[in-house]
Symmetry: C2
Subunit: 277 residues, 2 copies
Amino acid sequence: MEKIAENRCFGGRQLRYQHRSAVLDCDMTFSVYLPPQAAQGKVPVLYWLSGLTCTDENFVTKAGAQRYAAEHGIAVVAPDTSPRGGDVPDDPQGAWDFGLGAGFYVNATEDPWAKHYHMYDYVVSELPSLVADACPVDASRTAISGHSMGGHGAFTIALKNPGRFRSVSAFSPICSPLACPWGEKALGNYLGDDRDAWAAHDSCALMRTAEEKLPALVDQGDADNFLQEQLKPQLLAQAASSAGYPLELRMQPGYDHSYFFIASFIGDHIAFHAAHL
Amino acid sequence: MEKIAENRCFGGRQLRYQHRSAVLDCDMTFSVYLPPQAAQGKVPVLYWLSGLTCTDENFVTKAGAQRYAAEHGIAVVAPDTSPRGGDVPDDPQGAWDFGLGAGFYVNATEDPWAKHYHMYDYVVSELPSLVADACPVDASRTAISGHSMGGHGAFTIALKNPGRFRSVSAFSPICSPLACPWGEKALGNYLGDDRDAWAAHDSCALMRTAEEKLPALVDQGDADNFLQEQLKPQLLAQAASSAGYPLELRMQPGYDHSYFFIASFIGDHIAFHAAHL
């Protein structure tokens, strides 16, 4: 693994690494912000999963999270959103909602995707191991968050790995891939026609049977173009209600799906995670 | 003039406008952040001038200034850095330090640049008039700041227009285009061989004879790759010292030329301007 960038930021260090991924069978990059407190010892860590079309850089350059991470002494890890590279297949029509930039944080079982598209294993297993080797983080104090497709990733990964995270949050998450066009397309291609396999990556389905109940926060803008057709936070609120899951869903008036929305509330999310880390 | 984007951000509005520029003879875009306070009446305004290669978007998406602008109730205007469009000439070799993205905030007198490259008049006259028409800003309370080439622009424009600004600041400014390769190339091409004409756009030369003395703040990273050859803040400090100009120059250890540096200290700069607005 090679460090390919380092920039001082809010008294800490914004780092970027490149490495060969065994589970994705390609070269990958990811970013880590280490707060000033990391110079004195291990710090808790927040994983951030980005949305469709993003790389590891969108969150790092646009969210303004470093200020809050420095205040609270939390490291922030931002992976890419899919495998990358010359032999990694993409959507045949080059669509932006599937293939490159759209790994959906699952392990594909269908060809041609099954060779590289294992973002679930990458985020759950390979990446934390690389981070633990390179950075002073305390893996016993881990939280997870994300945006849109990455909000889906954050909730499904938290729900599927009890004992692993202290808290979970999301901005504008895809709440049920079983119930929206983005999910139908992606999971149908990656996992095939068996919708039971999709349910294992559906936050609403997972929440209904969750034994561990984590502190959970969701922010959703009510001017988000994708709200009605793709995101459907009411389904997550219903699942949380029926399961007694402690989800706080905040509808934010006038906000859209952009990083201007994330920047406005990322401070709240980092403070929320800090309270549980 | 047409509003081409609007995003809610920190309770205010991030706006983007497109318009035909009379002084640049081309179509231009610029961005304005209006804080929540602008819904109740006119607010003071900070002009931000960006550096080489930037458009109006770099600062808007990367600096995280909206949080502080919302806290202090200040509008922030970010113009582009050069004229744009099909018939606007660029560096013959396509270099990134001259031509498109590198207007240097002067009025070119030499062909082929003289037809479009009038960024001084654009920032000093045309843009404030457009902003005043479209946005609730109080032009009597105006400050100016910028980065690198835009720090040069902020200081030269403030020094050349006494009575116009309440305060001036910069990140990593080009302090003396008379004394660095970027300045030699740009002003030589835009203004010709007469170095007296360059001195009218040299912060150090202007500061030595300034009658109005504005509160002035400069942050400079000591790990900035351009520090020794291009930026030379010691020349500005010497000019300020000899002129009795109230410049605070802060060398920031470990910081480079990037927006990670700007993001780390833009809160200080907006608080500095707010104290004088």
